[in-house]
Assembly symmetry: C2
Homo-oligomer: 199 residues x 2
Amino acid sequence: MPKRVDHEERRRAIAEALWRIACARGLDGASLRDVAAEAGISLGQLQHYFSSKDEMLVFALKHLGGLAEDRIRARLLGLTGPPSPRDVLRETVMEMLPLDSASRTGNLVQIAYFVRALHDERLRGHAKEGIPALRAFFADQVRAGIARGEVDASRDADAEAMLLIALTDGLTTYLLLEACGPDEAVSLLDGHLDRLFTA
Amino acid sequence: MPKRVDHEERRRAIAEALWRIACARGLDGASLRDVAAEAGISLGQLQHYFSSKDEMLVFALKHLGGLAEDRIRARLLGLTGPPSPRDVLRETVMEMLPLDSASRTGNLVQIAYFVRALHDERLRGHAKEGIPALRAFFADQVRAGIARGEVDASRDADAEAMLLIALTDGLTTYLLLEACGPDEAVSLLDGHLDRLFTA
DNA sequence: TTATTCTCAATACAGCTGACTTGGAAAAGC
DNA sequence: GCTTTTCCAAGTCAGCTGTATTGAGAATAA
């Protein structure tokens, strides 16, 4: 056998090269040759690790989502003391927003996938799969807030969860377009949470 | 001179063919030949009306925005009696959301443009140009609501306007992904407006 | 009629795309 | 040393892309 190579690591490196290109030129502007060049390998080598372009795209999408989840988890673990539901929601949303350039890259790539998913049934499944879990997570936090008396009991936890997700997503759009600054986005979200957590 | 042709009308017909393709396969999947075939004309004829693909894309985008504005204006004029600020906001937002299949098409195309604009400076200008006006329009309605005592005077009209725009945009995303139904989106927005217009 | 100008079809072209094939280098197990 | 398996570089291929060119038909104005 030849030298043993960590396939997963190679695939991750290729996926990250794909992100860089997708971020700069869009997903459709990322040819196999471009990605290979960005990753510093030959086209043949790239095709050795991904037997088709579609396989590469799906892998890169899943890897992206995994890293985002990891970042959120790490951020929540980094909270000092027992976090309140409001803190959990705030930190999660802040991590999702494109407030720094690294997060901006991730969001740009994710949106590129989203748009492709609108016309591609296979990708749509992958794109949608994380939404119910996120929504349930948010709803749980709202319910915890209600239980602690920090949220008015008349609020519908599921509705508030969807509202917060949609708001985050919309702000993401305008942040990426630079039609809205990071400070403004943060203050808008804080204001929204202020009215949700009234106690 | 040969038979006189209404250039603008031809260009509109071509733009609409482009939308149909962009809606089904994405903007990047719309080649000049595809658009010409969809419009029922030859490639040469299409090139006679648009000297470059870029020109066609920009024209189609502006035409799309113009029609959307017209629909909103018509809907507001259709309101019986003097509309309250809340009605104006509600109707405008409802017209923007992809609640029926026609509006869904428009939103799909608009998002395709949005994503391309993220990587294309020329398009970004066109994509952003309508946002400040919309935001100012929404803010004016909120201010009118405050003046009429229907909105709490402590609310920041500009912030509420941005919040509503972002929320609409986020809901649009999840409607298009079918991660959220039309009824739910409407009820979420009504709930949001209920809390804004408290009197 | 004749000339002019508009409309548009056909074709060509260079460049890029994703997929595939071939062949060889390298390293582990025997 | 020899085999076997893995890894990967180079090249080929058909197909599609946007653009440019050429020329023909058609209708108006002289």
